[in-house]
């Protein structure tokens, strides 16, 4: 088990290293200066700035320096926001993103579970078809279309929830709901097919043959076994939420990481683009790793040699 962990962490580091390297050199290919106000920047100011950010050094030196700083958790300074470090920007921005992301995950997971479980139990009923249709629609309609509609109808027309900005809990709801649609749909579909599979398993018949009451059979044997693989969806879900935040945060003026990322892309703030890319990748790698561990923890059949008995 220890060996497995060491190996996994090794792979994670290699992956991260490759991402860092690729991102760094891709950024070198980007045209334009990352500095603000380049319109009126004089040559002298440019020299001063280049020296300040170490851009006057050869690329190899810059790269090694970047790696060195990265190891110490230093992602450099933003070009656009003078004096602010990328890490501090990420740390102030991650809160709102994490909050709406996790909230969307919770909303989506609960709704998805309920929909998925009921539609599997009422297989081939109107309800089943209805929730399958809902799930397909939820997966198919781009989240930004949905977010725009939500903002307009719930926020502006009905004035039930704040339209935008980041003030208090109520303003987290619309973005979370907009984000949770894909989660709900994905989870519902997944759960439904898992449930249907488990319902067809012999051990469910065994449980019934033992005289277990139907709801006990469903809860203890069916749902539990159907739920375990849901954990494996956390990786893809994390990605879809991450993707979602890029546009949802823009629409709802949420001061989150996704909004900062799209903003930095538009103004070519290298260091921030790089920092957030690395952060996202690291987060993703970490989530996948955690998912694997949780999965092993929930499913007794997994032993950490990567094979199931």
């Amino acid at each position: 088990m220890k060996r497995y962990f060491v190996q996994r962490i090794g792979y994670m580091l290699i992956t991260l290293f490759i991402i860092v390297t690729a991102t760094f050199f891709l950024m070198q290919l980007l045209p334009g200066t990352p500095f603000t106000n380049p319109e009126k920047l004089t040559a002298q100011q440019l020299t001063v700035l280049n020296a300040k950010y170490g851009l006057d050094q050869p690329v190899a030196i810059q790269y090694i320096r970047y790696l060195g700083n990265l190891v110490q958790g230093d992602l450099g300074y933003s070009f656009q926001h003078e004096g602010r470090t990328v890490s501090s920007m990420i740390s102030t921005r991650i809160g709102p993103s994490a909050f709406i992301g996790l909230q969307a995950l919770v909303i989506g997971a609960i709704l998805g579970l309920v929909l998925g479980i009921i539609s599997a139990l009422k297989h081939n009923s109107i309800f089943d078809y209805g929730s399958v249709a809902l799930a397909v629609i939820g997966m198919s309609i781009p989240s930004f279309v949905f977010a725009a509609l939500l903002q307009y109808y719930v926020g502006v027309k009905l004035e039930w929830l704040p339209v935008a900005l980041w003030e208090g809990y109520s303003s987290t709801l619309l973005p979370s709901i907009a984000l949770s649609v894909t989660v709900t749909a994905t989870v519902a579909r997944f759960i439904r097919s898992e449930m249907l599979e488990v319902l067809g398993q012999d051990y469910v018949i065994t449980a019934r043959a033992k005289g277990m009451k139907e709801n006990q059979v469903i809860v203890k044997h069916v749902v539990r076994n159907a739920l375990i693989p849901v954990v494996t969806m956390l990786g893809p879900l994390a990605v879809s939420i991450m993707t979602g935040t890029l546009v949802i945060e823009k629409i709802f003026s949420v001061p989150g990481l996704g909004e900062q990322f799209t903003l930095s892309i538009l103004v070519l703030d290298y260091s921030v683009i790089m920092g957030i890319t690395i952060f996202y990748s690291a987060l993703f790698i970490f989530v996948v790793f955690v998912v694997d561990i949780i999965y092993g923890f929930l499913d007794p059949r997994i032993n950490y040699k990567g094979e199931s008995a």
């Binding site: 792979y11 891709l26 980007l30 198919s140 309609i141 781009p142 279309v145 307009y152 546009v247 892309i265």
Partner: protein, 352 residues
């Protein structure tokens, strides 16, 4: 119990027939008359090829069939829609800017040329031509642009999916077919690539490349093929151990023959399903990139570009958002349903 042949008559009330045993059975029936075995074999279900069977299963899936029809319809519209009226997707006519949709005969459906303030713009501006989906602020015909956009979005998605397929099949095939060290190295590469959130990579590449259709496709396949490669590899590995491949090998089949005659046909099922799921993802990515401002160059329009434009003025010109959003949603839904249907038909075991 899915494999009964629909063509043979089914005896619906067998039990009543069985119960009816007349006492006066004529004696002359008690004569030996065994059935010819060959004949009785014929009665049993006629054999169908895997593909025929899959096709039959697919045709029974209503959702998938409706989706297929809708998709074909949309593809046809994407091809002929832009030339169904006299406008081109780039032709501007500022005098006719922001015209609401109007279709003669369909006024009751909202295609009445009346804007959000209740003013009939056609009467107001004395416009004789009907714009079926309205016009944008440049006075460009949205009907033409929506179908042109559909064309471009579909093109991007199909090309990206096709290239994913080629790279994925080659990579996954080589990796699994040769196995051993080759497989090991190639797998490690895939593992690393899997660790990278692909949207981020796409964005970075779009930033570096010159914006345009080619860059978008390129950026999408940079990470897109990985999923396909994994599917192919998994499938080939599974097949490699099976008897018929071993048998063929023992009989001295060449590698090429083995791949093309035995492995490929069997890998096709999951591959097709994966492609079908790749296409909507690609359409979504394209729309997504347009939405965050990394899309196509004007005046080309994809559905994503149109949605982004429409989103900005959805309050006053809702029709600018509705039609492209509707088309993209229908395409996504149909591809997803069709992919689901294909998965069920081609490979009932394949989950997710």
């Amino acid at each position: 119990m899915k494999e009964f042949d629909a063509k043979l008559p089914v005896h619906r009330d067998i039990q009543t027939q069985n119960d009816y045993i007349p006492d006066d059975i004529p004696s002359d029936l008690f004569v030996k008359a065994p059935l010819d075995q060959k004949k009785s074999e014929e009665i049993s279900t006629p054999s169908m090829s895997f593909w025929q069977e899959a096709f039959q299963r697919l045709t029974k899936n209503k959702g998938a069939m409706i989706s297929l029809v809708l998709l074909l319809l949309l593809i046809v519209m994407a091809l002929i829609g832009p030339s169904m009226n006299e406008f081109t997707y780039r032709e501007q006519n500022l005098a006719h800017s922001n015209m609401p949709p109007k279709v003669a005969g369909l006024e009751w459906m909202g295609f009445d040329g009346i804007d959000a303030n209740g003013v009939n713009q056609y009467a107001e501006r004395d416009v004789a031509t009907n714009y079926w989906f309205g016009t944008d602020e440049f006075g460009r015909d949205l009907w033409t642009r929506v179908w042109k956009g559909t064309q471009i979005s579909l093109f991007i998605a199909l090309v990206a999916a096709a290239l994913d397929l080629v790279i994925g099949v080659i990579y996954g095939g080589i990796s699994s077919f040769y196995g051993g060290r080759v497989d090991n190295v190639m797998q490690r590469i895939i593992e690393v690539l899997m660790g990278i959130p692909n949207l981020i990579v796409i964005i970075l590449f779009i930033l570096v490349l010159e914006p345009g259709i080619r860059s978008i496709i390129l950026a999408m396949i940079i990470t897109g093929w990985v999923g396909m490669a994994r599917v192919v590899r998994g499938q080939v590995l599974q097949l490699k151990g099976q008897e018929f491949v071993l048998a063929s090998r023992t009989l001295g089949a060449s590698n090429g023959r083995l791949i093309w005659k035995h492995l490929m046909p069997n890998v096709m099922g999951p591959v097709i399903v994966t492609v079908m799921f790749t296409i909507p993802t690609a359409i979504f990515f394209e729309a997504f990139l347009s939405f965050i401002g990394l899309g196509l160059q004007a005046p080309l329009a994809s559905l994503g570009v149109l949605i982004e434009d429409g989103y900005k003025s959805m309050r006053y010109f809702p029709y600018k958002l509705i039609y492209p959003a509707l088309v993209i949603s229908i395409i996504m839904i149909c591809f997803n349903l069709l992919a689901d249907g294909l998965r069920d038909a081609l490979d009932p075991k394949m989950k997710k």
